[in-house]
Amino acid sequence: MYSGASEIAREVDAAFYWIGGICVALLIGITAVMVYFVIRYRRARSPQAAHIEGSLPLEIGWIVVPTILVLFMFFKGYEGFKLMRTVPEDAQVVEVVGQRWFWTFIYPEQGITSDRLYAPVGKPMKLEMTAPVDDVVHSLYLPAFRVKEDCVPGRKSYLWFQPEQEGRYHIFCAEYCGKDHSRMITELVVLSPEKYQAWLQRKVEDRNKPVVMAQAMDPESAEIKERDGAALFKTYCVSCHGAEGLGGLVENARNFTSLADWKRSPKITDIYRTLELGIEGTQMRSFSNLPPWDRFALAHHVAAFYKGSDRPQASPEEVEQLNKDFRLGEKQEPRRTIPIEQAKKAYVEDAGGG
């Protein structure tokens, strides 16, 4: 077992030791008695069986004693559970969206998102979780903290934990969600409060960095090169479009190595547009939570799958139109353009309607 990384983990481990200890003791007892009887009363040594029909006191005994034991076990389990469900008042809220097959962690105060969960040491973190209404059930599982809760499409759930030391911890999807279920793995990165603040700061700046269209359209520009389009592609795109960009891993996932039949055109501007808006009626959803520069890096990576030289280029007017449509050149206010707006709206309506 992982070493316990928080108070909840210690509480759960204590329950494991209590319940498991009682169980192991009983199991050993039962097995030992069984083996002893088999040896002691084997036919060679005990040719004639005694006639015993039963014993009421014994029966009552092995009904009453186990009842007390299991009630104790229930109580042990309940204690830890109560702790898990009682979120401290000062907990920092992070919103979590599980999608096929990646996680998005939203820091609502800063308006930023991340594909990894970052947390400062010592701060209780409350995860408010959901999944888009057109997605499936996922389950966020932090083994080191012994916590797990399902992300149900269109509904909200929560869990909380309090990291006590810096480090990296696995986050798994525990509810079967289809093809790449076993790859829906990410990390919790626990930082010192100072490093955490610095990380937040960097993310916010990145999010708001105005786009210089000339550089953004140029795959060789320093800014684009610096952002690792390949890594982004691996996180967000591979499970449907494949490492080779051939697509087809889910229904209608586009093949990037061909120029035929694009819903929008294969120009960088239109790839960007798709990343911003998603494609209605398909599993291609909006990635507008990513910083704009990241999206351009991603668009260039996607475009590079086509090796021919006859890729259509965006005209200057189209570039300008894109700039205008999404106000890319302006310094942006922290905003919450996140792919799960839809899911959240549905949830709010649901809560209001119910």
């Binding site: 309506e349 649901d350 309607g353 119910g354």
Partner: protein
């Protein structure tokens, strides 16, 4: 029957008859009841779904209910209740050794079933014409709870209508077997079981009617 109704708690007496390959109506009836239990739970699961969503979407369910016609539902209820009466009377007639009367009552039951289905068909057709069916554009524009309401309405009344439909050939077959003498006052368990089935269909409707038509 070896059973003879002499003991009230123990029902093992029929073994002798069964060993002779005998006729054991009590076994047949018990089997029928157990089968009906599964039917009750089949619908029962849907009633649980209904209850959960009524709890969550009370207002939307009322809206949906307002789109259904109470007179139509009430008339259909009366028709089904009447069919249950004719069914019970048919069994009573057979037990009094009046097979012709029993058959007439069975035909009346089938007639009621037919009337019920025809009215139901018109009702559904009316809904379809107004764009109320699963996946219809009109319905999709309504509140989400109403979509669920009509999803349940069509599922549950559809499943119920299917049971009515299945009941018709069973009853007709019973009528035929009365004529051929295979069902007689001494060997009437087939008819009795058909009756049990028919009453269950009625019983389910007794719940469907208020839950769908009367909550607006």
């Amino acid at each position: 029957m070896a059973d003879g109704g002499t003991t009230s708690t123990d029902l093992h007496g029929a073994a002798g008859a069964a060993h002779a390959g005998g006729y054991d109506p009590m076994a047949a009836k018990m089997g029928m009841w157990l089968f009906l239990f599964t039917e009750v739970l089949l619908f029962g699961a849907l009633f649980i779904v209904y209850g959960v969503y009524l709890h969550g979407f009370t207002w939307q369910f009322q809206q949906g209910s307002a789109r259904l016609s109470i007179p139509v539902g009430a008339v259909n209820t009366a028709i089904l209740l009447t069919s249950s009466l004719t069914m019970a009377l048919a069994i009573a007639a057979l037990q009094r050794a009046r097979p012709a009367r029993a058959r007439r009552l069975l035909f009346a039951t089938v007639g009621c079933a037919g009337a019920f289905l025809v009215i139901k068909a018109f009702e559904w057709a009316g809904k379809f014409a107004h764009g109320v069916y699963p996946g219809a554009a009109f319905l999709l524009e309504q509140s989400k709870g109403e979509i669920v309401f009509f999803g349940l309405y069509f599922t549950m009344t559809g499943l119920h209508a299917l049971h009515v439909l299945v009941g018709v050939p069973v009853i007709l077959w019973a009528g035929r077997r009365i004529r051929s003498g295979a069902i007689s006052p001494e060997h009437s368990v087939f008819l009795e079981n058909a009756g049990l089935y028919w009453h269950l269909v009625d019983l389910i409707w007794i719940y469907l009617f208020p839950l769908f038509y009367l909550i607006s």
